[in-house]
Structures are given as C-alpha cells and as structure tokens.
C-alpha cells in the first residue's frame, strides 16, 4: 500500500478522469449483470408460465406490451438483449477512452519528469551510473506503471463492481444457490493472492537475468575489436551461453509456476460450475428454483470465472508494478543539482582566484588540497601532472560540476558558490576528454547550444577546431549523422567536434580537459594557433601531457597528488628542478638527434 501512496501524486490532475473511468466500467458491469436476469425471466415467464415476481421486470414487461404480446413476438426479447449489450458497450467505450486519456497523460508526465530529473542529477551521479539499468527504469518500468494505471487499476474496479452486482442479483434470486455458487470463490481468490506473493521474486529474477544478458551482449558488441584481436570468441560464447541459459532457466521456472497456477485455478473454477449445475439440478427437481433461475446461475458463475482467473494475472502484474514504482521512485528521490537557486548572474570577464581550495569526493580522501593561484582575464593556464593528480577535478570545480569543500574560488572577485550554476556554465566552455556527440547531424551537434547560430559560425568553429576538412570529406558533409545512429568518428575527430561545439559560443572562459590527446601533433598545433587568435577573448585552461601544448601558456600549474607542486611560465619552470623539467627532459631528450641531423 505504501507503493500506492507513492503513486498517488502522479495521478494529480487526472484523478477525476480516473474516477469517471471507474464509474463507467461500473455502469457497464451493471448492464452485464442484468443480462442473465433478462434470460431467466424470458425462459420462466415468456416461454414458461411462472409468475413474474420481480417488480422492475414486471414494469418493463408491461411497458413492452405485456407477456402475451412478448409470447407472440419473441423478437422483442432479442431486441432487449441487444439493447442491453449496446448500453454496456457504450460505457465500455468511454471507460477505454477515459482510462487511456488518464494513463497516457500520466506516463507522459512521468517520462518528462524522469528525463529532466536525470539530466539535472549531479555530475558525480553520472560519473558512476549504470546506463542499462537506468534506461530500463525509464522505459520498461514506466511502461509497467502505465499498464497498471491504464488497464489494471480500472480493471480491478470493474471486476469488483461486477462481483458486487452479481452477488446482489444472485441473492435476490436465491440465497441457497448463491452460497453454492460462491463456495469456491474465496479459495480461488486466496490461491491467486498466494501465487502473486510467490511469483513476484521470480519475475524480478527473470528480469535481472534478461538485463544481464543484454549487458553481456552489448559489451561484446561494443568491444568486438578487442574480442577479435584477442581471439576470445569462444570465451565470449561461453559467457553468453551461461547468461542465455540462466535466463531461459529462470523464465522456465516462471512458466512452470504459471502453468500450475492456471491449471489449478481453472480446475477450481470449473469445479465451481459443476457444483452449480448439480446443486441447481437438485433444486429444480425439488421445485425450489425454476429452470430460468438455474440458467441465470450458470451464466453468473461463468461470468465470475473470467474475472477471478484474470485477477490472478492482474495481481501478478501488480506485483511487477509495485517493483517498478519502487525503481522509478528511487531515481526521483535522488536530489538534483540545485540549478535554480537564484544565484548571482554577473557579467563574467574571466579573472579567477583560487584560495586554499580543497576538495574531496567522499569527505574522506582529499583529492585537492591548498590550491591557490591567480589568473588574469584572457590568460592561458596550463595544468600538467600525473594520472590521478587531480587535474580534471580542478577544472570541474569551475563550472560547479562539483562544489569545492573548503577555501574559496572567486570569479571577477565574486565567490563562485554564489553564482548561479546555469549562469556560470553558460559562461564556461568545457571540452571533456571523452566527449559525447548527440544523435543528429554534425551541424546540429556543433550548434547544439544555440540552434539559431548561422551556418557561417558553424563553419568557422569547425575551421578553428581543424575538423572542417574532415567534415567536407564525408558524403553528406555537415548533414552527416553522428552519434548512436550515424557514422562512427575517430577519437580525434570526436574531440575536435567537441572543441568546435565548445568554442562556437565564445564564452569568456574555455577549458580543454586533455581534449587534444587523440589529435596528432600537427593538427594539435593548427588548433592551438587558431585558438591563440582568440587569446585576448577568453581565459583558457588547458590540461595536457604534451610540453608543446602547454609551453605557450601564461602560467603552467603542475599538480601532484592533489597539490600544486610547481607553477610559473615554461621558462621559469625549466630553471627549476622538478616534475615539469623531468617531463620536459623526457619529451625533449630527443632534441640532440635533431641538432645532429
């Protein structure tokens, strides 16, 4: 029930429609339940000669012209049967329309909410997220919830109201027969419920096994080059086989349980019908009920069987729905980045101060400590250091992807934490080391932040990023699709695309997070030269392992184990013994050869 409470807020705005849907199905069930009464009355009093005891039936028959007329024109009863069904059908139509209206709107809102929530979750969440699992939650779990709302919830209302109507009709016909007719119904319900309890875990296990199978397949396909190069085809097949078989085995187990459930519940249901036939026959012979009443009871019990069987199925699906609700709520309960916080929105010039900045991801291990430096507007700052020294973390602090744990960062004298996140991000172009391209054309990717940008700006950005010629070599040039559904670009091409995308908006601060690592040195230089022309425009941070990339910087910061071990210009640093000079020596030790040549 706790789950349903969680679901309640989603129903907002559509509760009335839901209530209407339930109302319409209730009314349609009423007409359904009337059917057997029409039949039994017709059999007993029109064909037979029993007196009509039911007041309402009496009134209707009199309105239709009395028993005698009906006996002469039997087709009138046929028309009544069809009319009754037609009324039931009209309400069924409204129920279908209304519940779709409500559930589709709700699932649309849920999808939008999830989509937005996910993109607003903090950076740290996305660093370690499991894509496959998250996608499953956003798609199949939402689908399960929708089915639950759109079909099952209303269906349950329909089944319950039908049960009530039938019970009421049966009681009005004959109490004793009602008891015989309902004898096994609680057993069938109980059985369904017990089964539902049991099956929930099996469903979950099967789903998990399916997800595992997909992951194995996906990893195999994305890593197919490695698989082939290592000749690991048979190893991969073994892995796949084991996942494939365990998935099958779990589904089989599920099927076995379902087979037991359906056969037993069918047995119970049919047994119930048998009880009615035998007991009813006795009663008719003993003249305690009429033959029409027996027919009505047989009809009713048959009408009950389906919803009772169906209930088992709905309940199992409800089991899935409760799991899905949990899985979706789990995402929504993770707090998002406070993007709208009414922070300041100052004009950004690009002067930056770090003062004793410290940062830790988990509150235990310090990733950055005592980081202090000053950057003038328009300067280029290069950051070097070994793997894991904190370079990426440092630059991620600027667009507030992470907030520093201690110390102070000031932009143009303003404390960074007081500046609106969106605002600062709009003023910083950060090119990631492994950038993501969206499934759209190259042109749309480059002007992704501002689709209104002129083609000319797109071309210019592409030229600066030295990707223009590559693009022209594609068949469809700037209209070439990239990303999931398009051509696969090389690592270097992706990085250059990302650079073009970043610089098109001419932000006052630009950060390259080792984003030239996959570009050859000639192209690297070409890009740097083009960027230098913009030097006075933007304050630029460059993370790189290449001396040649960083040597032009106004200041080079060398990081090691989260602290600044050296800083200064290329010339200054070469005069100091230290990490920078060591790196330089390694890279330039070859200069000898050149001199000799």
């Amino acid at each position: 029930m706790k789950q349903f409470k969680k679901l309640y807020p989603f129903l907002k705005g559509y509760r009335m429609i839901f209530i209407l849907a339930m109302l319409t199905i209730t009314i349609s069930q009423l007409f359904y339940a009337v059917g057997p009464i029409i039949l039994s009355t017709a059999i007993d009093s029109v064909i037979g000669s029993e007196p009509i005891t039911n007041y309402l039936a009496n009134r209707i028959i009199n309105a239709l012209g009395g028993i005698e007329l009906l006996r002469r024109s039997l087709w009138i009863i046929g028309v009544v049967i069809v009319l009754n069904t037609a009324l039931r059908g009209i309400f069924l139509y409204f129920k279908g329309f209304l519940s779709a209206e409500a559930s589709e709107n709700i699932s649309m809102n849920l999808r939008n909410k999830l989509y937005d929530h996910i993109q607003k979750l903090p950076y740290s969440y996305h660093v370690k997220t499991d894509t496959g699992d998250l996608i499953q939650r956003c798609t199949s779990d939402v689908e399960t919830i929708k089915r639950f709302l759109g079909i099952q919830l209303v269906e349950v209302a329909g089944s319950l109201s039908m049960l009530a109507f039938i019970l009421w009709s049966m009681l009005s016909l004959h109490v004793g027969m009602t008891i015989y007719s309902m004898a096994l119904v609680p057993v069938i319900f109980g059985f369904a419920y017990a089964f539902f309890k049991r099956i929930q875990r099996d469903f979950k296990e099967a789903d998990e096994a399916e997800a595992k199978l997909s992951t194995t397949l996906q990893e195999n396909l994305t890593g197919i080059r490695v698989v082939k190069a290592f000749g690991r085809e048979s190893f991969e097949l073994e892995k796949f086989d084991s996942d494939n078989s365990s998935y099958r085995q779990l589904v089989n187990k599920l099927i076995d349980n379902l087979a037991i459930y359906w056969s037993l519940s069918d047995f119970l249901s049919m047994f119930q019908v048998g009880v009615v036939i035998v007991a009813g026959t006795f009663m008719v012979i003993n003249e305690r009920i009429t033959i029409g009443v027996l027919v009505a009871f047989i009809s009713y019990v048959n009408m009950l069987i389906w919803p009772v069987r169906q209930l088992g199925r709905i309940l199992t699906d409800m089991g899935k729905a409760t799991v899905s609700i949990d899985r979706v709520s789990e995402i929504l309960s993770i707090p998002v980045e406070p993007l709208v916080e009414n922070g300041e929105e100052p004009e950004i010039a690009g002067e930056i101060d770090f003062e004793n900045v410290g940062f830790s991801y988990d509150g235990k291990k310090q990733v950055l400590q005592n980081i202090s430096f000053h950057v003038n507007k328009g300067d280029t700052i290069a950051i070097m250091g070994p793997t894991g020294s904190g370079k990426t973390t440092l630059v991620n602090l600027l667009p507030r992807l992470y907030d520093y744990s201690s110390g102070s960062i000031r932009i143009d004298g303003l404390e960074l934490k007081n500046i609106d996140r969106h605002w600062i991000r709009n003023n910083i172009a950060l090119v990631l080391q492994e950038p993501f391209l969206y499934a759209r054309s190259i042109k749309e990717n480059i002007r992704f932040t501002d689709p209104q940008k002129q083609e000319k700006s797109v071309f210019n950005a592409a030229k600066v990023a030295a990707i223009h010629n590559d693009i022209l070599s594609f068949d469809k040039q700037y209209e070439t699709m990239v990303g999931e559904r398009g051509v696969s670009l090389s690592g270097g091409q992706k990085q250059r695309m990302a650079i073009a995308r970043a610089i098109i908006s001419e932000t006052p601060i630009v950060i390259f997070d080792d984003s030239l690592s996959a570009v050859d040195s000639e192209t690297d230089m070409e890009i740097r030269k083009a960027l230098e022309k913009r030097k006075n425009v933007a304050t630029t941070f460059v993370i790189s392992h290449r001396i040649s990339t960083v040597s032009d910087a106004d200041m080079i910061i060398v990081l090691d184990k989260g602290t600044i071990v050296q800083s200064g210009t290329h010339k200054e640093l070469l005069l100091q013994e230290g990490l920078y000079k060591r790196i330089y020596d390694i890279q330039a030790s070859l200069e000898y050869d050149v001199m000799k040549a």
Binding site: I47, G89, R111, G132, I255, W262, V278, L432
Partner: protein, 605 residues
C-alpha cells in the same frame, strides 16, 4: 533506436516462413504435440455446454436423478483432463518459446562473433541489439503461442459448430450467421490496432534513444547547459507518444463494443428463434441454454485468430531481420579445408597451429573499404621477425588500414599477406589473433574486476603473473591504491576508471599474453608523460623480439622503433630509422621539429 525496424512487409509472405521452417525443424515434434493438445483442449472446452444441456434435459425435465453419479464422473473427468492439458500446454509452449529464443539468440551470437569488423563499421550497436533481443523475443513468442491459440481457436470453433449442427441445424445456421461479420470486423480492427501499435513502438524506440542520450550525454549536457532545450525536444516525443497511444486505445475501445454487440445479436437470434422452437416442442430447454452459451463462447476464439493474424505480420518483420543476420556470410572466414584441419573459432585445434616467428610480407596488397576508393594500392612491405615498425602519417593516410590488414580484421582486396612465408588466408583467423598483443587508443574494458580484465589476455594467468604484467606497465601502484585493489570493479566499459588507467590495464592485458606479434594503436595517448616514460622502457623491453606495429602521435613513442615508415596516401614515402629519417629532412623531420622545436625554450638551454 532503430527506424528500419518498422518497415514491415504489408502482406504475409510465405517465403519468409518457408525460410523459417528450417529453423523450426528441431522443434517439429513439440509443435505437433502442442497442436494435438490444443485440439483436445478446444474440444473439451466446446463440450461443457453439452454437459449442462444434458443435466437440464435428463434430470430436470424427467425430474429424476438417475444417472447422476455417471454425470458427475463425466464432468469431473472433463475438468481434470482440462486442467491437466492446461498445465501441460502452458509448460510446453512456454518452454518452446524460451528454447527457441535461446537457440536463435545463440546462433545469432555465434554469427556475430564470426562476422569481420567490416560488418560492424556501419552498424550501430543498438541496431544489432534490437535484432538479438526484442526481435528474437517477438518471433519466438508469436510462433509458439500463436500456434497454440490458432490450434485451440480452430478446434473450439469447429467443435462448437459441430455440436450446434447436431443439436439443431436450422438454429445453428441462424446463430452462426453473425460469424462472418464478426470475423471481418475482427480482422479489420486488429489490423488497425496493430498498425497503431507499430507507430507507438517506433516512437517508443525514439524515446528509448532519447533516454540513452539523456543518460550517457548528461555530463556533456551539463557543460553545455542544454537541459531546457533537451526537455523541450523530449516533450515533443512524449507528446506524440501520448496522442498515438490514445488513438490506439480509442480504436480498441470501439472494437470491443462492436464485437460484443454483434455477439449479442447472435444470442438474440438464438433466443428469439430458440424459444419459439421450444414452444413448438422442436428443441428442449437444454438445447436453448447450450446455444446461448455457445454464442458467448464463439467470440473469444475469433478475436484471438484476428490477433494472431495481425501479430504474425509483425513477427514476420522480426523474422526477416533476424534471419538476415543469421544468413549473413562473413567476408573473412576460414576456407573449408582450414576449418576441417583446424576447427572453427569456437573449437580451435590450437595444438596444430605452428608458432609464429614473425616474418611479415605484404605482397602487392591493394585494399579499399569502398569500391572505387582504394586506400592501399600495390603495397609492398617486408618485416623481419622481431622488428618494431612505427607508422607515421596523417589521419586517413592508410596507417590504420595496414595494421587492420596485418591483424586480419580485414583481408586484402588483391595481393596477399604472408606470415612466416605462409599466406595467412591458408591458416585460421585465430592463428594471428592467438599470437597477437593489441592495445587500442580507446581501450575497451569489460565490466568485472581489474583482474578479470587482465586475465582476458590469458585465461590461465596466475595472480603473480598478472601483478607482474601490471608492474611492467606501471599500473600496479595505482591498482593497489584502489579500495579493492585488483578486485576493484571497473564498471560498464571501464567507466569507473580514467582513460589513462584504462590504457594501462589494456596494456597489461596485452602483455600477459606473451605474444609474438604486437600492435600499439595510439596506446599511450592518455598516459601522462612520466608514466609514459616508464612504460616506454617497458614497451621497448616488451617489443624486443616481437614483430610489432606501432601507431602513435607522440614521437617519443615512435623514435625507439627499429624502423619508421612514413605513410602518405597509402604509400611508403620514407622508410628508415629515426636518425636516417631526420637526416633525410623530409616529412618526418618536419613533423618532428614541429613537435619539439616549436618551443622557444629549447635553444636557450
């Protein structure tokens, strides 16, 4: 994820299903058993109203309970056999479905492993995934349960018709007169419903794709501050999803009332005529009751048949896609006699494969990815065993192609490549791969622990050997610094590690193979210089005695090669050692000086 997914053939095509017959053969017996069961089940289902009729006519009319025990016995045995059949058929059809899905998926996976890399060049992973998952599921589901429903539906409809005709042929004809209308209506509507569902599925796959971008691109989206626009675009998708779904729901909501309405016309006819017949004494009460039950029972099988008809159409599209994958013939594959001698890639007789010493000869090799656009033309190259060859050149110059051909990811369009004097096409593909250490620029790791990933290189490697390999590439220190050391999980695709760390691990993975051939494809681009320096020594050590190809942007990695080839437009323009090429003052010299002498500081030291 996949738009071609929905180009469904309009009509049922026998060709596809005939094709499928070959794949169905192993299950033939089970299909026959299932069909027999369902026919029996249909007959029993159709018999229940007859039992009720019997009770009414025999006991009620005669007012005596003679023969009641017999009746109860007959009823009970019908119920028991019904339940038993239900139990058996669900089990059997379910198992048939899972087994078929399992087997087809396995065949598909095997095929995917056999297909060469060129097959993957223009296929998105999502596209292949859809074939292996949802298409296979839909296919096996529709086949197994479709057959079940079809057999049951036909049996029960035949059973009902026969019983009705036995009871009273005239009344049977009158009652059954609504059936053609019912059938036409069902087919028309089920087609419409399916068409609407197809549209929904298409939008649905777009939504899945959008969620995929939402998640994988989240970091980039953040830096680009694109959240609002993204949501705006996404809400268009979900909006049209809603509209289509409601449309589909309306079609179904019209169908159901129409069908039950028509069904009630059948009931009305049965009653109007039947009650007249009773008064005239032509039929009994029991017969009338049976007819009324039958009119209600007839609707479900007709609806189901219409559903199956529609579903088979969409399953056919799935079938076409799955079979096109299964029937794909690998461009690069072992010839018949190679297979006979050495076994296939899943069952290789490794002991028969001679060890590779490492002489490599490219003889007049030409190659093009696309016809008309040759990347290599009459390319010749001889590499001595143990030689380290560095390839230098611009993007698109053909250096990756040379490596791809060497690894036999691709095969020459013309000419041949000799390994130790043997045309490698005369040997199994895995001959090269078993002797190859390969490190990629974007290192792909598999989810699992670090140790699992390194062991991928050699499955029987011991912990000591693994640690040794990690020490060589300087990865040991950072690994033991991690919370769980070597047992640290690397995440999906290695996402929990940095690119540099991934490169080091993929390096260790290659080294542990102790291969005689080695390929470094931009392997050190994301490793910091100090580490690279340390690895460089290791690389030099490791490459010694192994025939290796090295592609690198960093000249520091290249200069220690025994031989450097400058590749331009598919041709070797310079060939020699580092020193020789510098002396030549050609492309290499310019490249080299660009990278290292562009620094003002150098001359001042």
């Amino acid at each position: 994820m996949d738009e071609t997914n929905f180009n469904t053939t309009k009509k049922l095509s026998l060709g596809v299903w005939r094709d499928f017959y070959t794949y169905l053969k192993p299950y033939k017996k089970r299909f026959i058993k299932l069909i027999v069961m369902m026919v029996l089940l249909g007959i029993i289902d159709a018999s229940f109203p007859m039992l009720a009729k019997y009770a009414i006519d025999e006991f009620v009319r005669n007012g005596s309970m003679d023969g009641l025990p017999l009746f109860i016995g007959a009823y009970l045995s019908a119920v028991i056999s019904l339940s038993l059949l239900i139990f058996l058929f669900i089990r059997m059809a379910g198992r048939l479905e899972t087994t078929m899905a399992h087997d087809i998926r396995r065949l598909g996976f095997i095929r995917l492993q056999e297909l060469p890399l060129s097959y993957y060049d223009n296929k998105a992973v999502g596209w292949l995934m859809a074939r292996m998952t949802s298409d296979v599921t839909r296919l096996s589901e529709t086949i197994s349960w479709g057959i079940v429903d079809l057999a049951w539906g036909l049996a029960i409809m035949t059973g009902i018709s026969v019983y009705m005709i036995i009871l009273n042929p005239v009344l049977a004809l009158i009652t059954l007169s609504v059936v053609p209308a019912l059938a036409v209506l069902s087919v028309v509507f089920q087609k419409k419903i399916l068409g609407a569902q197809r549209k929904i599925r298409k939008i649905n796959s777009q939504i899945t794709g959008a969620f995929n971008e939402d998640i994988q691109g989240a970091k980039t989206t953040k830096t680009l501050v694109r959240e609002d626009k993204n949501l705006f675009e996404f809400s268009h998708l979900t909006g049209s999803m809603k509209n289509q779904s409601i449309k589909a729901a309306i079609i179904s909501s019209i169908y159901l009332p129409l069908v039950i309405g028509l069904g009630s016309v059948g009931t009305a006819l049965a009653f109007s005529y039947g009650s007249g017949y009773i008064m005239e004494g032509i039929i009994t009460y029991g017969t009338l009751v049976a007819f009324i039950s039958y009119t209600a029972q007839f609707f479900e099988p007709i609806r189901q048949m219409a559903v199956i008809f529609a579903e088979f159409q969409s399953a056919q599209a799935s079938a076409e896609r799955v079979f096109s994958l299964l029937k794909e013939t690998p461009e690069i594959r072992d010839e018949g006699y190679v297979l006979e001698t050495f076994g296939n890639i899943f069952d290789q007789k490794k002991e028969l494969l001679p060890p590779i010493k490492g002489t490599i000869d490219f003889e007049n090799v030409s190659f093009s990815y696309q016809p008309q656009e040759p990347v290599l033309k009459n390319f010749n190259l001889s590499v001595k065993p143990g030689e380290t060859v560095a390839l230098v050149g611009e993007t698109g110059s053909g250096k990756s192609t040379i490596v791809n051909l060497f690894c036999r990811f691709y095969e020459p369009t013309s000419g041949r490549i000799l390994v130790d004097g043997t045309d490698y096409r005369k040997m199994p593909i895995q001959w090269i791969h078993n002797n190859l250490g390969y490190v990629l620029q974007s290192p792909h790791l598999f989810s699992g622990s670090i140790v699992d990933n390194i062991r991928y290189g050699r499955l029987d490697a011991t912990q000591d050997e693994i640690e040794e390999a990690c020490r060589i590439v300087n990865a040991h220190d950072f690994i033991i610094d991690l919370e769980n050391g070597y047992n640290t999980q690397v995440g999906e695709g290695g996402s929990l590690l940095s690119t540099g760390q991934k490169q080091l691990i993929s390096f260790a993975r290659a080294i542990i193979r102790n291969p005689s051939l080695f390929v470094l494809d931009e392997a050190t681009s994301s490793i910091d210089t100090e580490t690279e320096k340390i690895i460089q020594n290791a690389i030099t050590k490791v490459l010694t005695g192994r025939t290796s190809f090295v592609i690198a942007h960093r000249l520091s990695t290249i200069r220690s090669a025994d031989r450097i080839l400058v590749i331009r437009k598919g041709e070797i323009t310079e060939d020699g050692t580092h020193k020789e090429l510098l002396d030549k003052k050609g492309y290499y010299y310019r490249l080299y000086t660009n990278q290292y002498l562009d620094e003002e500081g150098i001359n001042e030291i």
